[in-house]
Amino acid sequence: MTTDETLGPPSGRLVRVGRARIVVHPRTALVTGAVIAVALAAAILAMTIGTMALSPVEVARALFGGGEAAAQQVVQAVRLPRALTALFAGAALGVSGAVFQSVSRNALGSPEIIGFTTGAATGAIAQIVLFQGDGVRIAIGALAGGVATAVVVYLLSMRGRTTGGYQLILTGIGVGAILQAVNEFLLVSGGIDQAVQANVWLAGSLYLRGWEHVATVGIACAVVIPVVGALARRATLMEMGDDVARQLGVRTERTRLALIFAAVLLAAAATAACGPIAFVALAAPQLISRLTGSRSMPVVGAAAMGAVLLVVADVAAQALPFDAVVPIGRVTGVIGGLYLIWLLTRKDTVRV
């Protein structure tokens, strides 16, 4: 791998890997690397917390099969799957948000706003309240609800043969509002036990996540994020308007459909694993773009930032000095919201 100092687009460097010539933006690469490091460090930190307090060194030792047997057992069977679920779900949500924001050309584009999360909740609550389902069936209900909502919103926002960004958001808000009402109706119409169970699911949780959750969301990340990465340049060009992108040779409607499909899969996998997690999808792409200063759709960066947000929220949820289990979905809302407000108000130092 060599860097060509003389050649490169205005804000990038040309890196040769074999015969490939890839454009790398130094600041983006640096920031993304740092955020990945923070995500991993936070995951280690998260694994130190619990009834059996461990030091980071003990956690590391347990991960590689050393240290005490009890520590090994706790870390490998309980804390590692929980941390990995958080990392992968955060990454999936971050990339999902980046795609929705790019496609809708709007900083408010996210699975929540598009109605996806509400639809997933409808599926899950219906499973709980109407069919007394649990576990896998709730996850499947959430998946089906979310995907069905996304399909409906996409079809409703089509005008002629194209979908505009604003239509997507407005349709999503409308459909989301209807589903929200349906959700509340389902909650009051079911028995009290089901209502409680549904509310627990609605709060979003990383409690008792096992390797099956890691697999669900980890495989989704491994398969879908590279696809999004391959489409990222086209998505970035489409932010200049469909006409400009099309005249540059981008098949916009096909690309948009593929991107939305990928983003819905990612959000669905994360929601199936942890329940609805607020704000990570909305905040992660915004935060990473402000840190890198890049105007391209972030993929790896959004994944890393999403992972950081979710793992930090998990640490905070466990470390809070309350005598109650604070659901992760609530914590992400508070942390992400505060950080975003703080960044938005710092207009003098950050270009908005």
Binding site: L7, P9, P10, V23, L237, D243, G249, R295, V352
Partner: protein
């Protein structure tokens, strides 16, 4: 006259609303063609059909004899570039980065930049005189500068045929001339084929080698401005009472509008 672009028996429509029916048009190679016509006469629709942004319901468009529907997306983009009426600069993007995006049709996923890209971007920025702005944000620029930057992006695309949809709208008259002078230079120095939609008849008359006058989705007249821009044509197409005199500076036809026919009628009544 060699022909760069041919519209052959085009029927153009949005959903069920037909804009043009059985339209034939030829864009001469290596010349500046200007399309004029009243609002809603189908100028932009024609431009969008020529650049494949809309598919004709009937007929076909040939670029140097090749049916444009049979070309790949990037392949077509390397041969024909379009500046749409509205384009949106992503917030915070620098001039240099925006111009570099014009190179997309020449790049592949694992071949993202080359010496050709570098050279084309540098030439495009020099030709449009935006080199000094390379690191500035596009949003900070004036309307005239911004339009030059978009044209630079189009130039970096390096297509021999360039279509510009109302490139002077929203610019003051000095910046309008800037853009039109640039267009004339691109044609003269680099031999590019240019097609512009303009509103100002006098600018059209001065800068066009080939003028296409449209009305109600059809072509009312085409040819050298000095040969076709007559008082009768203005009355027929624009419902305009006007005198056409030779421009004292350039010798091209100069339209002096006197009154809109419609207003005259209203006045009499």
């Amino acid at each position: 006259m060699t022909v760069a672009l041919t519209g052959d028996d085009l029927t153009l429509a949005y959903d069920s609303r037909t804009i043009s029916a059985s339209l034939d048009v030829e864009i001469p190679h290596g010349e500046v063609t200007v399309i004029v016509g009243p609002n809603g006469c189908g100028k932009s629709t024609l431009l969008r059909a020529l650049s494949r942004l809309i598919a004709p319901q009937r007929g076909r468009v040939l670029l140097d004899g090749d049916d444009i529907r049979r070309m790949g997306g990037k392949q077509f983009a390397r041969r024909l570039a379009l500046l749409p009426q509205s384009s949106q600069a992503p917030s915070g993007i620098s001039v240099g980065d925006l111009v570099a995006r014009g190179r997309y049709p020449h790049q592949r996923m694992l071949q993202q930049w080359s010496a050709d890209d570098e050279g084309a971007v540098r030439r495009a920025m020099a030709a449009t005189d935006v080199e000094g702005l390379a690191d500035r944000g596009v949003e900070e620029l004036s309307g005239g500068q911004r339009q030059r930057v978009w044209i630079a992006m189009l130039l970096a695309q390096d297509a021999p045929v360039m279509l510009l949809d109302e490139p002077t709208t929203f610019l003051d008259v000095a910046h309008q001339l800037d853009v039109l002078d640039l267009v004339a230079r691109l044609n003269r120095d680099e031999g590019r084929t240019l097609v512009l939609v303009l509103h100002d008849l006098n600018q059209a008359a001065r800068f066009a080698d080939h003028l296409v006058v449209m009305r109600d989705g059809a072509i009312a007249a085409r040819g050298r401005p000095s040969e076709i821009l007559t008082e009768q044509l203005l009355a027929d197409v624009f419902a305009l009472d006007a005198r056409v005199i030779p421009d004292p500076v350039f010798g091209t036809p100069l339209v002096v509008p006197i009154a809109s026919r419609k207003e005259l009628r209203d006045h009499d009544a």
